[in-house]
């Protein structure tokens, strides 16, 4: 399996229902990402970056073309299998953080363990503590996310994404809501994850500083790959 790319996308086409967009959101997109690679997906707003990440993460299944993650074709997976892959193999980080306000920081980080059918919940607290330590938020474990700054919220979201040590991290504009310095800190965390854990990183961004940190850029324009 180590020889296979982490992500293989070939001739991917995504169309929204008639009228939503005048053209396909993704139009014959082909991208291959090797294991441990840090790839920035760049492009303007509406270029298809988020759609591509959602398709790779199995959140959006209504696509045509070849889509493989870790050597496995997503189209052939049932809901349970796909959910298991999202739970163990893929981590998501969103621009809007998407933390659950009724839970504490620690409970937010533990959330993936609630859906882990390996019975991972008993060990989740310790692992969540480790994940929070990696993003420098051990002291915030017991507070609700509403009391955190934007940068801290994003670091909690990263901790949640890495709880199960996924091989692939999909990040959609992770610094979009952060100031420059906080954004740099978040990028540093990603770089450290890639370096220490060998995590494959795909980050959708329109910010040059993020793209510069990545090892490779894939440029999308109007749903097509124009570079990379």
């Amino acid at each position: 399996m180590s020889g296979t790319p982490m992500v293989r996308v070939e001739h991917l086409v995504k169309r929204y229902p008639a009228g939503a967009l005048p053209r396909p959101a993704l139009d014959d997109v082909s991208v291959t990402v090797a294991r441990g690679e840090f790839v920035a997906i760049v492009g303007r707003s509406g270029s298809g970056k988020t759609t591509l990440l959602n398709a790779i993460g199995g959140l959006d299944r209504d696509c045509a073309g070849v889509l493989e993650v870790d050597g496995r074709a997503l189209a052939r997976m049932g809901d349970r299998e796909l959910a298991r892959m999202r739970n163990r193999g893929i981590g998501f980080v969103f621009q809007a953080f998407h933390l659950l306000p009724q839970l504490t920081v620690l409970e937010n980080v533990m959330l993936p363990a609630s859906f882990d059918d390996r019975g991972a919940l008993p060990t989740a607290r310790g692992r969540a503590g480790d994940a929070l330590a990696r993003v420098g938020l051990s002291d915030k474990a017991a507070v609700p996310p509403t009391r955190l700054s934007a940068g801290e919220k994003q670091r909690v979201a990263i901790a949640r994404a890495i709880l199960n040590r996924p091989a692939l991290l999909l990040c959609d504009e992770p610094t979009g809501n952060l100031d420059a310095e906080t954004g740099r800190n978040v990028i540093d965390i990603f770089l450290e994850l890639a370096a220490k854990d060998g995590t494959t990183l795909m980050i959708a961004t329109h910010e040059g500083r993020v793209a510069e940190a990545a090892g490779r850029r894939v440029v999308l324009a109007a749903g097509k790959v124009v570079e990379g």
Binding site: N54, D60, R80, A83, R86, P112, F115, D116
Partner: protein
């Protein structure tokens, strides 16, 4: 889930009100129906016992051989019917009789026409014991009455004589014990017996225990509400005061009908040893052999071998309809009492169904309310559901999480409904106690909150909560995480 329930508690309280009302209504009426059936109906008309009597309307031309008598042959035919567990004939005295006594309890000596019914003691043994225990408590250290309800004339016969024949109609307790004539030692009849002369003209006879007698609780109710009120007599406080009361019965003499020949008139002493709903309502019920012997002595063998009615006990309640049909072929019909029981049971069943339906309608409305509430909650929590999906929740997980909240709501609603129903039942008992205090043998608690009632109350609340949340749960599962999470 707990956090979500707490977070949305105002929505849940609103949605749960219908469940509380519905399950409370259901539990209240099921418990009341169960109480009416178990504590009133089954005591008056046991469901696995039906009483038959000879059909009074003859059907001609159908080729059915209708027996003209309810005798041993008919009883044997009944015993042979499938589903029949026991056959208990009843016989009524077929001669005039009158009774007097009860001064100790009533404050005066009652004088009444006497009607005696004979029943098989086995039929009422358990019932008598339970009823006596209910009013007098545990048997240790007190007089036990119920066990005396049996035929005691077969016990050792000791010859005796009274001072004179007239003594047998008096109320001198010493005189009526007479003197034992067996042996040289002239003692009175043994304690608890009296000297029963062979007829009113004779002073000689045998020492006998008083005839054990049962009375109906209904008789006491009638006495208290009609006789005592109209005649300004002392009201009887409860059934227990009648236990042990002795009275005399004169077979062959009547206040209304012509008397028997004087040499056939006999005085018997009797003692009340219990009360039963199977006892004759306006009369006295004694073990069957006493009535058979009296009818034999005063009316002859033919009359003594014909029974007034027969109680048939079935193995299962479901056997009753078939046995009623089979008994009809034998020329038997349900007694008015059993017919009443069937009608009462049907009325109770219909009322139970009606109130259960009302409860179900309330629960149905609450389910619609739950659907609306949960649709709103699911819409509000689209982002949360999308996050669940992103971190590994399956469609089934999402559906179960929503239904799980409905389950918690249903359990809470059902439990609250049961508590409300129980509180209402206590209030209803308190309200009814003033009325029922005058009804002897009436239950102090009209309700039976049995396990099935509790289970039905909670299960219906849970069921309707889950049904109400089914569509919202499906909608939650259809939440498109890609769209929701991209919106930010």
């Amino acid at each position: 889930m707990r956090r979500n329930v707490v977070r949305s508690r105002s929505h849940f309280v609103f949605a749960g009100i219908g469940l509380v009302v519905g399950s409370a209504t259901l539990a209240f009426f099921l418990a009341l129906s169960g109480g009416a059936r178990e504590k009133i109906l089954n005591r008056l008309y046991p469901v696995n016992q039906v009483e038959f009597q000879i059909e009074t309307v003859r059907l001609f031309g159908l080729g059915i051989e209708v027996p003209s008598r309810l005798d041993e042959a008919t009883l044997a035919a009944l015993r042979g019917l499938p589903g029949v567990a026991g056959v208990y004939p009843k016989q009524r005295t077929k001669f005039p009789a009158r009774l007097w006594g009860g001064r100790d309890v009533l404050g005066y000596e009652a004088r009444l026409e006497a009607f005696l019914d004979g029943i098989d003691p086995v039929l009422v043994r358990d019932e008598l014991r339970a009823a006596e225990r209910e009013v007098l408590g545990a048997e240790e250290g007190r007089t036990v009455y119920w066990s005396a309800f049996r035929d005691r004339e077969g016990e050792r016969r000791i010859a005796c004589e009274l001072s004179n024949a007239a003594a047998q109609t008096g109320d001198d307790a010493v005189a009526i014990r007479g003197t034992v004539t067996d042996g040289a030692d002239r003692k009175p009849c043994p304690e608890g017996t009296y000297c029963a002369a062979t007829n009113v003209l004779s002073a000689r006879g045998f020492c006998e225990a008083p005839v054990p007698a049962l009375v109906s609780p209904f008789l006491l109710e009638v006495y208290n509400s009609v006789a005592a009120t109209a005649m300004g007599l002392r009201k009887l406080s409860g059934l227990e005061v009648m236990l042990g009361v002795q009275f005399a019965v004169l077979f062959g003499e009547s206040y209304f009908a012509p008397d028997e020949r004087v040499d056939r008139r006999v005085v018997k002493r009797a003692r009340i040893v219990g009360f039963s709903n199977k006892a004759m309502e306006f009369g006295v019920t004694v073990p069957l052999p006493y009535v058979e012997r009296a009818n034999l002595a005063l009316r002859g063998r033919e009359e003594a071998s014909e029974y007034t009615s027969v109680i048939v006990e079935t193995h299962r309640n479901e056997d009753v309809p078939a046995i009623v049909d089979d008994a009809r072929v034998l020329g038997l019909t349900l007694s008015p009492r059993s017919e009443e029981g069937r009608k009462a049971a049907n009325v109770l069943l219909v009322l139970t169904i009606v109130f259960a339906m009302v409860s179900v309608v309330i629960l149905g409305i609450s389910a619609i309310n739950i659907t609306h509430t949960f649709l709103m909650l699911v819409t509000e929590r689209r982002a949360e559901i999308a996050v669940w999906r992103a971190v590994g929740a399956t469609l089934l997980d999402v559906r179960l999480l929503v239904l799980g909240e409905a389950l918690v709501l249903g359990l809470a609603g059902g439990a609250s409904g049961l508590a409300v129903a129980y509180g209402l039942s206590r209030a209803a008992n308190a309200a009814a106690s003033g009325v029922l205090a005058h009804v002897p043998g009436s239950p102090s608690d009209l309700f039976v909150f049995s396990l099935p009632v509790i289970a039905a109350g909670v299960a219906c609340a849970v069921l309707f909560a889950v049904v109400g949340a089914w569509v919202p749960a499906s909608r939650a599962a259809r939440t498109d995480p890609a769209t929701v999470l991209s919106q930010g």
